[in-house]
């Protein structure tokens, strides 16, 4: 009885050991979207293979959907073509598709949990690196490539190497105006963007237990930005309460059976880990990225690092970052001007994120030099926000209130940065060109910090 959750779930789902030395792992839930799946369907079609468990795959559309006019056919012909491909593939193979005509459409990593599809003790895969999000429920969830989507469609299994497990032990109490986003930015800052290569991150400790399900999702979501393909929390009463009553969650006696199973797969108290990293969150401050990867960040009271203060191997990327961002070493991060404010994405596009941001902008107006966008993560988030009047708070403040999708997180639809605009963004990647303009610049931060920056037109402290 010294097993961690990853080992337990892994063993339960292990089908066989393959000649290559990897494990063949059964995938309990397979999620697909329009961007990475069409080629996988083409491959199984070419080989005349059926989908082995069509009822274990669910589809949604998120990356390419326009967030203003969603009438069909889409104005963007290529987007329309991708949409049609997913419609055809799901129809032909009998896969549930939460398309734009259903009330459930949204970003794949928001839809899974909110429908109760994501459950503890499952293995979950999706052709999308932020699949790590689902680990918030005590599932082992990871992003895969298109060839592996093909494998899962055909066999409901994939070949994968078991990761080592690092425990991220969090203690202390989160200060005011500091959020889950700041915790994960800090972890990536400390452990590095490739510090998690080969690892799964298990988030634990007193502080972890206090986090809400939505906060846990934000943290697991960005595990991959630290190189860890998998991040997870152990399931607890909060997890069970969240799932109860959701569309695909078990009901009645089955729910009780499920809870016993879910409890049984949690890490044992004396479970063993490859290593442990401690983080006291009591003194965290809001974090903002200043560079071109999510590890290049500092807290708001800091100045951008001097090149000579950085470890040798980080200097070259920092030089590149300063040149792309137009920033100088030693600059304060406070006061950096922004032209766009983006609230949304699978990291921070849930209802709790919108409530926090709305509370900050309520009754105020955003700077006349800022274009503000609020993009709910799913239709269900949008409905809830509208029922609470959050949409009006945002529009009265000067934001545009959009329909659900990935939007400016990766700008595969019409929502894009223009020229070298700087965006304060609640999303997860600040890579060069990520938000749709090759010269565009991204500052990652919490939705609260984005809201505050939108009001002032520059990076600033949060005031209510």
């Amino acid at each position: 009885m010294k097993e961690n959750l990853l080992n337990k779930v892994w063993n339960l789902h292990k089908v066989a050991e393959l000649d290559s030395g990897t494990d063949q792992l059964f995938i309990g839930l397979h999620l697909i979207h329009e961007v990475t799946s069409p080629q996988a369907f083409a491959m199984i079609r070419e080989r005349n293979l059926p989908v082995l468990f069509p009822e274990r795959t669910f589809a949604t559309v998120d990356h390419i959907v326009p967030t203003d006019d969603q009438s069909r056919p889409f104005k963007d012909e290529l987007a329309e073509k991708m949409m049609e491909a997913l419609e055809k593939n799901t129809r032909e193979y009998g896969i549930r598709f939460f398309d734009l005509t259903t009330e459930h459409q949204g970003i794949v990593h928001i839809v899974g949990p909110e429908l109760g599809l994501t459950q503890p003790g499952m293995t979950i895969a999706c052709g999308d690196s932020h699949t790590s999000t689902h680990g918030a429920f005590g599932a082992i969830a990871f992003g895969i490539g298109t060839s592996q989507i093909r494998d899962i469609l055909a066999s409901q299994t994939m070949s994968i190497q078991k990761p080592k497990v690092r425990k991220i032990e969090m203690t202390g109490k989160l200060p005011d105006h500091v959020y889950a986003k700041d915790i994960i930015l800090k972890i990536i800052h400390d452990l590095g963007v490739n510090g998690g290569l080969g690892y799964a991150y298990e988030y634990g400790g007193d502080a972890a237990a206090k986090l809400s399900m939505e906060e846990r999702m934000t943290i697991c979501n960005m595990s991959i930005e630290g190189g860890a393909r998998v991040g997870y929390f152990n399931p607890d009463q909060k997890t069970f309460d969240y799932l109860k009553g959701r569309k695909f969650a078990p009901e009645g006696a089955a729910f009780d059976n499920a809870v016993s199973f879910w409890k049984s797969i949690a890490s044992d108290v004396d479970a063993e880990y490859e290593d442990t990293y401690h983080l006291d969150i009591s003194h965290l401050k809001p974090m903002v990225t200043w560079g071109i990867n999510p590890g290049q960040s500092c807290s708001i009271d800091e100045t951008l690092p001097l090149l000579k203060s950085l470890p040798e191997e980080e200097r070259e990327t920092a030089v590149k970052a300063y040149s792309h961002m137009g920033f100088n070493e030693g600059d304060p991060i406070l006061g950096k001007k922004i032209q766009t404010a983006f609230i949304g994405s699978c990291t921070n596009g849930r209802i709790s994120d919108l409530r926090i941001a709305a509370a900050i902008v309520k009754g105020k107006t955003i700077s006349s030099t800022v274009r503000g966008l609020v993009v709910p993560g799913s239709k269900s988030v949008a409905r809830q926000a509208e029922a609470e009047g959050l949409d009006r708070i945002f529009t009265e403040a000067g934001f545009s209130w959009r329909k659900a999708g990935c939007s400016m997180c990766l700008a595969m639809n019409a929502d894009k940065l223009r020229g070298n605009e700087i965006s304060a963004s609640s999303s997860n990647r600040n890579f060069i060109g990520r938000q749709g303009s090759p010269t565009g610049r991204t500052l990652l931060m919490s939705p609260a910090m984005v809201a505050a920056a939108a009001l002032k037109g520059y990076v600033t402290e949060i005031t209510l």
Binding site: Q39, A42, G145, N194, P250
Partner: protein, 203 residues
């Protein structure tokens, strides 16, 4: 279906310098609005190859001396970020058959293996030397021997590593995994049957 065993990859090299080159750099998202991988080769490193006005930069992928190169040499954490297989697909369709680097992001390396492209790692010093050798003499043939594993260029050899599972997959020709996985169909069904959620937690 017949699978290709890969043990030796030979070709001329092309260095792309820099750490943490992410998959958004390798292929910008706007070129992913496609339903097949055909033609993606034209967009490899697009935003690094062309400036805002569409003028070509001095990126190695624009340099005619590397036009026929088949082995890409990179630095640390290459292929981080998005899981898009479009990234290795665009490199493959440009002509790349093998990659040498200091380290690779996990999903990217997995995608490469699934496509039969070896991604081998060398230390910082060897990588720098390999890059310099190729820069000074772009016509030199490089060989990645997956079995040993080692890299040979001219009369020099460099040790390299590849995870044993990926090495085995390439050597045995089992990098195209679907068929191999389906061989265990009986165990797949057995595993499914023992998972409590597959039965809706009915007992």
């Amino acid at each position: 279906m017949k699978l290709l065993k890969k043990s030796i990859i030979t070709g001329t090299g092309i260095p792309v310098r820099g750490n943490d080159i992410d998959t958004d750099r390798i292929i910008p998202a706007r070129f992913m609005k496609v339903v097949t991988f055909d033609g993606l080769g034209a967009y490899a490193f697009y935003d690094a190859r062309f400036d805002e006005k569409g003028n070509p930069t001095d990126h190695p992928f624009n340099n005619p001396v590397y036009k026929n190169a088949e082995i890409l040499i990179v630095n640390k954490n290459f292929g981080c970020g998005s899981s898009r297989e479009h990234a290795p697909q665009s490199l493959a369709r440009w002509g790349i058959k093998g990659i040498i680097g200091e380290s690779f992001a996990e999903i990217f390396a997995g995608n490469c293996t699934a496509m039969g492209i070896p991604a081998v790692t060398t230390d910082e010093k060897s990588t720098a030397e390999l890059m310099d050798l190729v820069t000074n003499n772009p016509d030199l043939a490089l060989t990645i021997n997956i079995e040993i594993p080692e890299i040979r260029i001219g009369d020099k050899t460099f040790p390299c590593t590849i995870p044993p599972s990926k090495q085995a997959a390439l050597l045995n020709g089992t990098w195209d995994s679907t068929e191999i996985l389906l061989k265990n169909k009986e165990q797949i069904l057995k595993t499914a049957a023992r998972l409590p959620y597959m039965g809706g937690f009915s007992s």
